[in-house]
Symmetry: C2
Subunit: 407 residues, 2 copies
């Protein structure tokens, strides 16, 4: 078994995912290393934030430098000098979302979508989905490419991450019910092809460390579709194992989610999924989303928000977010968050980081990124601790009432 | 005494400069932290290259964030979280060179100057020099400012570096002999005003760590002017000390130098200067320049070239320079320089850094900067070692013949 549950607390649980490159104590936040680098940080700096594993994007590494180069380097972890577990996503999200206006953070409210968002989502996505796969254009040079389930598996085997995801179709909150239904059925057929390709590639490449394939549950905001998708993946897993093949070692929960019903939707899915396999919720990092996801039984999460926000000078504190570019920090010689602590708060003032941001110095992004990852990783570590102490709800209520006090 | 000589070898020597923030073993290369950051690096990363001290620019910190803010932070070292000695330059170089085409590396050949360089040097420098000081415009917003010797001292006291420089006029290789003569005389008068202002400010600010003022020797390519300038500073030092005041604790050697006569010019100056005070050569880092400067008795050097080059993907190796952006490194899974070693060569491949450069990832600049500083610091450390072993010439000849073999 590659997953062991330590403790349960209603739907929530703590546990350990084991990989050939080390263990991940869950719940865990997984920083995003899009192009085989958590932007601005060395691996030692990533590690110093407390991060246990990092997630790269198959789409980006396929376009640049190319999966053959990462393969020759010995896999993505060796390529980027990361001495720990790695994930890659399937590329499905990027091939269908990049190049359009499309919001990239998945938890949102339909009511918050502007007319412009909707027009952008409706226009040509630079991608065309058919039964076999997806045609898309590169965001780098506009060149034409095609991903299929088999292609995604080949790329992810070349990238060699410990945990890889089945190729799925990304839908949006504004697609029709009928489209979502057809899409879930297609993602199911693609999942089966992913299992077959994964089995073949794992056998062909047995000299490389064993990789885990995780199926991805779609179904948007519809309970019946979400439950059907989860059960469908479990059927595929059972069939594969009955044939003596590898099945799914975990599950991803994908697709756009309405923020206010995030916990409910994750709950439908985890209610169906087997308890003894880990679940990754793609694309969240806001504290309220993390609390909701954990309470509903999600084990790991990734999101670009803490790193992207940090490069722009946005930082998390226990009292909510700040933007250190604001003029009021010019003479603020206090740490970002003395109570939180960590390398950045222990060594730098808001005034210094404000100066670096105004001067457009690279170090600003490095320091804010380190701080934000430390914040989110520490939050999830604290959640793990409080789950094991039986004080999850008290911790959540205290944290949330302080963090969101101003809003 | 703030300087102790350990060993001499012809005009060259090894020694130790003592400051309130620690010692500097000389010869030493001092990385440039223009705006209170060695671009792309944390202080821990700077330290890991072996660097002992860093040098910031009074001009840049005056414009952004302003010397009052650095003063309130407790000085530049505390502001930037650097636990070691610091230098600031006087601002003279920047007020007179920025905003024009003007080459910024001081060691060059007149023959290499293009018509465009000469036109750029002759056009309005955004600065106007008079007897009292210099009017100039900010490179940030074009606003008008004025530096005088007193103003430079005030700024450098607010910045609070351990070693500060007298305010001098920067001339170019194409100024006339008459202009250079007048300029050296003016720089001498400014040096006297700097000593007086430094004495007053040191007494007024006795709660802050004592700062050393180093005089700056100008005189371009003219032996008589260089020697006259050096002797003039020594006279000022003697007069100040006779009055019970602080004198110069060291000397800078400034101004444009013709590369082929760098050693000769430095030799004229050090021949005049007292043996028991350290000498800083401003703006050099190329291996041949470092060997020539050390052989002629220079003790410390600074230059933006290793860091600026690194951010563009240029890296030093024992066999000369490489640009890692070149396509031939795409599948080069070897280190930048296995023989040299250091953090970057021990942990990353040329192929990975090539990928980061092509993807415009911040980490590329960080890694190449760390590598280049490690290279230059290690070179100067090796020079110190070989001076003490009496094998300086053998080391120089071996290093140079290999490094410049391809040119």
């Amino acid at each position: 078994m590659s997953f062991r549950i330590n403790h349960t607390h209603s739907a929530a649980r703590t546990g350990v995912i084991s990989t050939p490159h080390g263990d991940i104590y869950t719940p865990a936040f997984i920083p995003v290393a899009t192009k085989a680098t958590v932007k601005t940080l060395t691996p030692e700096q990533i590690r110093s934030t407390g991060a246990q594993a990092i997630l790269s994007n198959a789409y980006h590494l396929y376009l640049q430098p190319g999966p053959d180069i990462v393969d020759e380097a010995g896999g993505v972890a060796k390529f980027e000098n990361w001495n720990g577990p790695t994930y890659t996503d399937s590329g499905g999200f990027q091939v269908m979302s990049l190049g359009v206006g499309f919001k990239k953070v998945l938890a949102m409210e339909i009511a918050d979508l502007t007319e412009k968002d909707i027009r952008a989502a409706k226009k040509d996505r630079m991608a065309r989905v058919d039964e076999d796969g997806v045609d898309f254009r590169s965001v780098i040079d506009g060149s034409k490419h095609r991903f299929t389930p088999e292609k995604s598996m080949e790329i992810q085997h070349q990238l060699g991450a410990d945990i890889i995801f089945a190729f799925d179709e990304l839908t949006t909150l504004i697609d029709t019910r009928q489209y979502q239904e057809n899409s879930v059925a297609r993602t199911h057929r693609w999942a089966k092809r992913c299992l077959e390709a994964h089995e073949r590639l794992s056998n062909e490449r047995s000299h490389r460390p064993e990789q885990q394939l995780w199926g991805v549950v779609q179904g948007a905001q519809y309970q019946d579709l979400r439950r059907r998708a989860a059960r469908g993946l479990m059927d595929l897993d059972r069939e594969a194992r009955a044939a003596g093949h590898r099945g799914f070692d975990g599950f991803g929960i994908g697709g756009a989610l309405e923020k206010h019903s995030l916990g409910t939707i994750v709950g439908w899915v985890t209610d169906e999924l087997p308890e003894d396999k880990p679940r990754h919720l793609l694309g969240i990092s806001e504290p309220d989303d993390i609390f909701a996801a954990v309470a509903s039984g999600a084990d790991t999460f990734d999101c670009v928000a803490p790193t992207r926000l940090g490069r722009r000078g946005g930082v998390y504190t226990l009292d909510g977010r700040l933007n250190l570019k604001a003029a009021r920090f010019k003479r603020d010689f206090t740490p970002i968050d003395a109570e939180l602590g960590g390398y950045v708060s222990e060594n730098y003032t808001r005034a210094y980081i404000h100066h670096l941001l105004k001067a457009k110095e690279f170090l600003a992004g490095t320091l804010c990124t380190m701080h934000n990852l430390f914040f989110v990783v520490k939050l999830v570590d604290s959640i793990r601790h409080h789950l094991e102490q039986g004080t999850f709800e008290e911790y959540r209520d205290e944290f949330m009432s302080r963090y969101y006090a101003r809003s």
